[in-house]
Amino acid sequence: MTKLTLTKGKKIILSAMLLSILLVLSRFLSIKSTFLVISFSFIPMMLAGIYLRT
């Protein structure tokens, strides 16, 4: 039998990648006005939720 696991090193690498994507998406690739901010920063956040738990 085989079981799928996510190793600790890969977890750290994945979270670092997602964090860098999150920073780029939320700081540079977002539409900003004084109050309103539209960005796609939800993508890495939700992917982190999907793969890494809290």
């Binding site: 085989t2 999907i50 890494l52």
Partner: protein
């Protein structure tokens, strides 16, 4: 925000993801994040910053979040589906486990005990349980002796008897 997503969306590696349930999870988590956290919390912050003027901002914010909700759900649903083979290939590592460990991953009882699995497997075998007759012997002590006595009685009549031994893998 990430905390809420983690609670609702996480699945153990290798676990099967059902489309309908996943969409429900996505909608619930997105509503909580966009509705409760973003709107309410940012209203509080804006109140601290600008005083009473925040009420005017909230209305426009509400519409944007309402637009973002379906976009968010659809994007993540499609993205997760597209990323699934890659995640399986590069992210997760296959680990060998022995049979005892594998059997230990099952619980003794399910959350909602029913006979669906048994009925399914019996249908696959053309329902052999409906073609034979059974005598049930249950209780605390004395099952084995009663069974032996019944067997010896029935073996002397015209009934054919098949003895079935059930061995379990339960650890004591």
């Amino acid at each position: 925000m990430g905390f809420v997503y983690g609670i609702f969306l996480y699945k153990k590696p290798g676990e099967e993801r059902k489309d309908f349930k996943f969409i429900i999870q996505l909608i619930v988590s997105s509503v909580i994040v966009l509705g409760v956290i973003k709107i309410l919390l940012e209203a509080v912050f804006l109140n601290v910053l600008y005083g009473k003027a925040y009420l005017a901002v909230i209305a426009s914010r509400f519409t944007t979040e309402a637009i973002m909700l379906p976009i968010q759900v659809i994007t993540i649903f499609l993205l997760e589906k597209a990323l699934r083979p890659f995640a399986k290939k590069y992210l997760y590592k296959e680990e060998e486990i022995d049979i005892d460990e594998y059997l230990d991953t099952f619980d003794k009882f399910t959350k909602d005990p029913n006979l669906d699995a048994m009925r399914y497997i019996m249908e696959r075998f053309d329902n052999p349980e409906k073609q034979t007759k059974f005598i049930h012997v249950s209780g605390t002590n004395g099952k084995g002796s009663i069974c032996e006595m019944l067997a010896s009685i029935l073996n002397n009549t015209e009934y054919k008897l098949r003895q079935i031994y059930i061995s379990t893998f339960n650890k004591i």
